[in-house]
């Protein structure tokens, strides 16, 4: 097999942080290489350097044996490298064809020839086995289909090496399986593929070769045949990780959170939650499974008082929280781990200590009347930093200096260190390293065992299955089914998530 891409001794640092440290790897034609690593391991930096979006400090990049000038994106594209971004670069109001030809339109005289273009798109989708309607508008297509268009767009430019950046982050399990087939098919046609991911299951199913990155270094290269998920995880984090969450049986008590007939609008003023009923009892974890964008965010925000409820009611500990602001809902005994910790969970230019009391700054003992009690705030911080293993030089350090996992620990420490009846945890392990995931999972189970009712919302089906006692599947703004975890089955849940009747 011909070597398509060769990276030799690539080093890239940002200030004092070395993102890529002397990395070498190669991709052959027709080969699928997975770049596996935790967030912050240097995967994105590496492919950005390959693609010419970043200028490496040292090292060489060869495509077809030809050395690329650093930072020359145009030359890289001209040599047949394409990229499918995590966030699609599509124009929603334009058709599939228009999106694919954008920037390279076939013309009749001075006019764009849509006919020629559609023919070209049909030929492409036949050649690569990517069925898609060329006349459909992007905004009407499901996410998996949009990604297909994105792939076709890349392939329309004679691509021989295709880079996928976290391609399954937004897909349902079924769509993920389809994508794996698509990628394998591309490889068969001779395209070299790089897939960036931190999902072990996909790596096992997909890759010919796995390059594992940790702290900016290649810690090993292996194949799925020679390794297994546990082995890969160990390479990623450098120690043994328990992937299975160990937890005792649930001991559910009285309902502590009741949602009745809830309807909520999203930011575009469209109904995103269309009549949801659910109940969480103390001492149990109710998981909400679903592909993102099916109303989970609006549901959570409405429960926590951050978003206006159009209809219906929410009871926390039997108390109605109508027209309540986040502050009052919080006082009623509801803790909330928000989905977006940078946006809602933290003030990154505040100290860790201040972030640890962010929603209790005006309560005893952190404030006495009008005055903030600095010694109580400091004491609280010292205690929580230790208890929740927040890795920092000092509680007075700014939150922005922390890694993603440690930022999340700050949020979780704050939310769990108070009297709580209900814990709403939205995407609690998003963008968090494997070591912290394990810790966070343990904390959620500890909250449950301490008598709190936990509402867990996550796009990671594995997380839902391994943590929840009951699972509610949300699709299209409603709960389509609630099942006991004993009956949980990936396929069955996946079909429910996709909105298919099981």
């Amino acid at each position: 097999m011909a070597t398509l891409l060769q990276v030799k001794n690539l080093t890239k640092s940002f200030g004092s942080v070395i993102a890529n440290n002397n990395i070498s790897f190669e991709v052959n034609a027709g080969e699928i290489v997975a770049l596996l690593g935790e967030n912050g391991a240097g995967k994105s930096t590496l492919v950005k350097s390959v693609f010419g979006l970043l200028r490496p400090d040292q090292g060489e990049i060869y495509i077809d044996g030809k050395q690329m000038a650093p930072g020359d994106t145009a030359a890289v594209i001209a040599s047949g490298v394409g990229m499918v971004h995590q966030h699609f670069q599509l124009v929603p109001v334009m058709s599939v064809t228009e999106n694919i030809i954008l920037g390279d339109e076939p013309k009749d005289g001075i006019f764009i020839s849509i006919k020629k273009a559609e023919k070209k798109v049909r030929a492409l989708s036949e050649k690569f086995g990517l069925a898609v309607d060329p006349t459909a508008n992007i905004e009407d297509l499901p996410v998996g289909m949009q990604q297909r268009v994105e792939i076709l767009k890349a392939l329309s430019k004679d691509v021989r090496l295709l880079i996928f950046d976290e391609p399954t982050a937004v897909l349902t399990p079924q769509e993920t399986d389809e994508l794996i087939l698509v990628i394998k098919n591309l490889a068969q046609l001779g395209v070299g593929v790089i897939v960036i991911t931190h999902k072990l299951r996909e790596v096992m199913a997909l890759a010919d070769r796995v390059v594992v990155l940790r702290d900016g270094k290649v810690v090993g290269t292996t194949t799925p045949k020679q390794s297994d998920e546990a082995g890969l995880a160990q390479m990623m984090v450098g120690r043994n990780v328990v992937l299975e969450v160990s937890k005792g049986a649930a001991n559910p008590g009285q309902p502590v959170l009741s949602v009745k007939g809830l309807e909520v609008f999203d930011d575009r003023k469209l109904l995103a939650v269309k009549g949801v009923d659910l109940q969480v009892r103390s001492g149990e974890i109710l998981g909400i499974a679903g592909v993102e964008g099916n109303g989970q965010r609006e549901l959570v925000e409405a429960i926590c008082g951050m978003r206006v409820r159009a209809k219906g009611e929410v009871l926390v500990g039997g108390m109605g929280t109508k027209d309540m602001h986040p502050h009052a809902v919080h006082e009623a005994g509801l803790s909330h781990i928000p989905e977006d910790r940078e946006k809602h969970g933290l003030v990154s230019s505040y100290s860790i200590a201040d972030n640890l009391i962010l929603n209790r700054f005006d309560q005893q003992p952190f404030a006495r009347g009008w005055f903030r009690n600095m010694s109580a705030i400091k004491k609280n911080a010292d205690l929580l930093v230790k208890k929740f293993d927040i890795r920092t030089t000092s509680p007075a350090a700014l939150a922005s200096a922390l890694s993603g996992g440690n930022k999340q620990k700050v949020v979780i420490a704050r939310e769990l260190s108070q009297d709580l009846q209900v814990l709403v945890a939205a995407q609690p392990t998003r963008g968090v390293d494997v070591g912290s995931i394990e810790f966070i999972h343990k904390q959620l189970i500890a909250a449950r065992d301490g008598g709190a009712g936990v509402l867990l919302v996550s796009a990671e089906l594995d997380e839902i299955i391994s943590l929840s006692d009951r699972i509610a599947v949300m699709s299209g703004g409603i709960i389509v089914a609630t099942i006991d975890n004993k009956n949980a089955d990936r396929d069955y849940l996946g079909r429910l998530m996709a909105g298919l009747s099981a």
């Binding site: 946006k343 969970g345 003030v347 230019s349």
Partner: protein
């Protein structure tokens, strides 16, 4: 070391501004050493000069503080000028129209009335921002014009001093005048106390924490149960009250009456001072003294070195340029340099 890192940008900004000023003087054939020497000896080492310096510094410090509160709460208050004028005019009216009070009651009353009228102007901008999503930069600029025109009308009409040819109010009564102690205006000590107060509010109180959280991350503030809109209005009201108070101090302590031309530019220098002080209330005081000295003693450069006092405007403008544009920190490669963010996204609320 931390201290140097925090203040290196403002210090270099000042240095560059004075250097450019010097170059310009040389190109005009003047001696910059002589000019600066006379500027600073007059401003800071003569009895008369010091009185003038601190007289000028007083309203500058207070309006600088008004801008600082806004910056800390995520608001860019361009309207200190308008808020200050409304306070200055209201205090002038209260100073001559309310009679029969002893000084101990009359002065505080006038100051409070000045602060109240300033806060009304602040409230308008704050409410428009919070409840209508209109950017405070737009509204405060417009309010500056509205207030100035209104003040000119009033001081040239209903509130005009009888028999005067120019637009001005009558002189305030003696019971409403703020005097001096040891040659320094009492108002200046007031501004020092206010700076301490503002510093203390942000350091120690839940109100300060609310403002600051809203300023740093509105979404997180809302999540944490802080009423973002109410605190936005409240912060703007506080800005306006302070600036109005500053205007009142200027009227009662320096001018003795309201005369539109006398308050020109105080609120705008307040913006530069607040940015130079990096939104630190205590640093506003030295900044205001420096600016007050330059404003007060600027004309002496004319006599001593033949330099037109407009050079002061130029120097202060260059200071503003370098403290807002993150040029210096970029050249010095300062990490985590928290150049004060002047204003958040336009149109966003």
């Amino acid at each position: 070391m931390r201290f140097i890192r925090a203040w290196i940008t403002p210090l270099i900004a000042l240095f560059i501004a004075f250097a450019i000023g010097a170059i310009l003087m040389i190109t005009q054939g003047s001696d910059p050493v002589k000019a600066y020497q006379s500027l600073f000896t007059t401003a800071f080492s003569t009895q008369e000069g010091l009185a003038k310096t601190f007289g000028k510094a007083t309203p500058l410090a207070i309006s600088g503080l008004a801008v600082v509160i806004g910056l800390r709460a995520g608001l860019f208050n361009i309207g200190a000028q308008g808020q200050l004028i409304s306070g200055a005019l209201a205090a002038a009216w209260a100073g001559y129209a309310i009679t029969g009070l002893p000084m101990i009651a009359h002065v505080p009353l006038c100051l409070l009335i000045g602060g109240f009228f300033g806060s009304i102007v602040g409230y308008i901008a704050g409410a428009l921002k919070a409840y209508r999503g209109i950017h405070e930069v737009i509204t405060t600029i417009m309010l500056n014009s509205i207030v100035l025109q209104l003040a000119e009308y009033l001081s040239n009409g209903p509130l005009k001093e009888e028999g005067s040819i120019i637009a001005r109010t009558p002189e305030v009564l003696d019971t409403a005048k703020i005097g001096s102690v040891a040659g320094l205006p009492i108002g200046f000590f007031l501004s020092g106390l206010l700076a301490l107060g503002v510093w203390w509010i942000f350091k120690k109180t839940t109100t300060g924490f609310r403002f600051e959280t809203v300023g740093k991350n509105k979404n997180a503030a809302w999540y944490a149960g802080i009423a973002v809109k109410r605190n936005t209005v409240f912060a703007m009201v506080a800005c306006g009250a302070l600036a109005g108070f500053g205007g009142a101090v200027e009227t009662l302590g320096v001018v003795g009456k309201f005369e539109p031309a006398f308050n020109q530019g105080l609120g705008f220098d307040g913006i530069t001072i607040a940015l130079l002080a990096r939104a630190n209330p205590l640093a506003v005081i030295p900044g205001a003294i420096l600016f007050g000295g330059m404003r007060g003693a600027g004309p002496t450069m004319q006599f001593s070195a033949g330099v037109s006092p407009e050079i002061i405007d130029l120097i202060l403008a260059i200071v503003l340029f370098f403290v807002t544009a993150p040029i210096i920190s970029r050249i010095l490669k300062l990490k985590n340099d928290t150049t004060t963010q002047v204003t958040s996204g336009w149109g966003s609320n």
